[in-house]
Amino acid sequence: MTKIWIVLRSEFVRRVTSKWFIATTVLAPVVLLALMVLPPVVGMMASENNEWTVAVVDETDVLGTRLAERDAPRFTFVPVDTPADSVRAAVLSGRFDGYLVLRDGMLEGDAGAAYYSVDGGGFSLGRRLAELVNDEVTRYRLDAQDVPLDVRAIMEDRISVDLLKLTDGGSAPDSAAASSAIGLGMGFVIYFTMFLYGAYVMHGVMEEKQSRVLEVVVSSVRPFELLMGKVLGIGAMGLLQMATWIVFVVGLALSAGGIASVFLDPSDFNLPDTASAAELVDAANISFPHVAPDLVAWFLLFFLGGYLLYASLFAAIGSLVDNQQDAQGLMFPVTILIIIPLLFITVLIENPHSLLSVVLSMVPFFSPILMVVRLATTSVPFWQVLLSYTLLCAAFVLSIWICARIYRIGILMYGKKPTYRDLARWLRHS
């Protein structure tokens, strides 16, 4: 036991004081924040600069003019009378971004429109154009029927349905989108860290084996103690890193209101200039998802269980190979196991109570990611969480037991790459 502790402490201290650790601990949240903030900002900037001038070839004789008269943001419609060939040439020469053909029969719903451009236009342009054309056709047809204004108002009304969650004290808004985002984020963090720390363990084992320091070390400690010390030491490093990130995220969430209020103008919400940040945020109807402490606790517990399960597999792989290339081949099945849950995350978020979701969140190799996703998105019956975690614990104990046996023999073998049959023999005979 004391030897496990000595190995653990050495692994922990050595890694935590490395430049690499300090850099990733500090940089990861910065990069994550940049990834979250940059795409919308860049997207906004990119689309704001876009304006389209569209030539309209109108076979219906009415729709083109109505479109041109309409005040459509970012679109300028120019009805043209010239033959198709010259419109085509005008678009190719760059005078128009594209041309829209409004086919005869559209007004009766018998035909569609077509948009021609050099670059195809892109997804959001197509959607906006379709909205505009549809809306105009609808209006024209309603006009033709002399539909009164109050009927049109009825048609345009959009009734919202609020999703509320029943709680002990009553009900609370079910911020489904926010909790899905949290679930997704937590799932990815667990995926990423299990992989990263697992790879640390594997490379640590490989380094000891390749540098041949191992033979001396195992004449002082039992291979099992060395393995556990290494796995737990790197796990402790991982927990420290996670804890740092959590503190960072919590700090960010607590100060998010203050940060957001800087960008808000009190007069927009009929508030005096002296309004507090909290009042402002409230008035702007911005809500920040609340992350329950027990979710954070389960997140850490499932991370630990998943880490122990995969780290033991990675350690066994590291003990079997002499170089990185051989490691790739053996890592493949383990990599697949880690990736499979990622494919199911969206299915689980959309339908957290389906049989498939419940079963997948019980499977030990998947539960560290999928149960956490479910816990974040919905309220999972306690027995399911407990069963899932018990299975995970049983799996990592078994995995450590098996992998320690492989490790014990693997670390002393050089040159020959063992086959799966060799591995089975080692397990039987030890």
Binding site: S211, R212, V216, V217
Partner: protein
């Protein structure tokens, strides 16, 4: 300090019989040479003594008790294929390895300072291992073997990569350790080192012992059937005798021949022949065969 007893030990790796009924004893205050060609079973035997692996049959006793975790703390092991943590500093490394042997930190620090000084390596304490030359690393590895004051030492090719000055320093230390009454196993392929250092030898081939006993007694067992001849003129002088099968040349250089006599060839007949075929004789010596010859003929006979 007690002795090491290896008793009828057997080790199999699947179908391969790596160690086949090996027994020997190593006494405190003596150096035992563990010899054998590559793949003979030396490393397998050493790993069982160090309790890294367990014998399939037979037993290994140190001070009368089966080896185990307790004996690992008394054991200093310098393997043939050895290394250090590349990114750790010399100091961290030595303290860590000593702690794993159960030495308290402060105690380890004191001993480390003493040994680093002895090996003129005090300045390297803060350097990373990957910055050290091979010879420096050798010395650090040797210090790591000694920090916990082991009573049983297993040194596999300890001189590899050392220059003559450092080799001499290491030899002195090994002799001191022996004179302290420690039990030392020395494995090497360099027969001149074995002859210089060892009191006893044990020669393993194909997993079996083919020769063992005290070095002096073994050499005596092999008759004085080797002739060393130094001469001038006529370097091909002895070719005829060799062609007739009377002698076998085991070492030949300009003006010097080392020959083993075949049965029925007397040293005198070689001298007579030489007198009439070379210009001048500077040295003629009848002696025991060198250890390398004993090694080779024993291995050949054992197979």
């Amino acid at each position: 300090m007690g002795q090491l007893v290896v008793e009828r030990v057997v080790k199999r790796y699947g179908p391969l019989l790596a160690v086949d009924d090996v027994s020997f004893e190593a006494a405190p205050g003596r150096i035992m040479g563990l010899l054998g060609p590559n793949g003979a079973g030396k490393t397998s035997t050493i790993r069982m003594i160090t309790h890294i692996t367990a014998p399939d049959d037979g037993r290994i006793l140190y001070e009368g008790r089966p080896v185990g975790r307790w004996s690992q703390e008394r054991l200093g092991y310098l393997p043939e294929e050895r290394g250090l943590y590349r990114r750790m500093t010399v100091g961290e490394q030595l303290l860590y390895l000593a702690e794993l042997k159960g030495v308290a930190r402060e105690d380890a620090r004191r001993k480390m300072a003493r040994w680093l000084e002895r090996f003129e390596a005090t300045d390297w304490v803060g350097r990373k291992t990957e910055e050290l030359s091979k010879g420096m690393q050798q010395k650090i590895q040797f210090i790591a073997t000694l920090l916990h004051d082991p009573t049983l030492l297993i040194l596999d090719e300890p001189f590899g990569g050392l220059d003559p000055i450092n080799a001499e320093l290491l030899r002195e230390v090994i002799w001191e350790l022996r004179d302290d009454g420690r039990c030392i196993l020395f494995a090497s392929h360099r027969m001149e080192q074995v002859e210089q250092l060892c009191d006893d030898i044990c020669l393993i081939s194909n997993g079996r012992i083919v020769l063992d006993g005290s070095l002096r007694e073994i050499k005596r067992r092999f008759a004085r059937n080797t002739v060393i001849l130094e001469f001038e003129g006529g370097s091909d002088a002895m070719d005829d005798m060799e062609a007739r099968g009377d002698v076998r040349v085991i070492s030949r250089s300009h003006n010097r021949l080392e020959m083993m006599l075949s049965d029925g060839t007397s040293p005198r007949s070689v001298l007579d022949y030489a007198l009439s075929h070379v210009d001048e004789i500077r040295k003629f010596e009848v002696t025991e065969p060198p250890l390398s010859e004993i090694f080779m003929s024993s291995v050949r006979k054992g197979n």
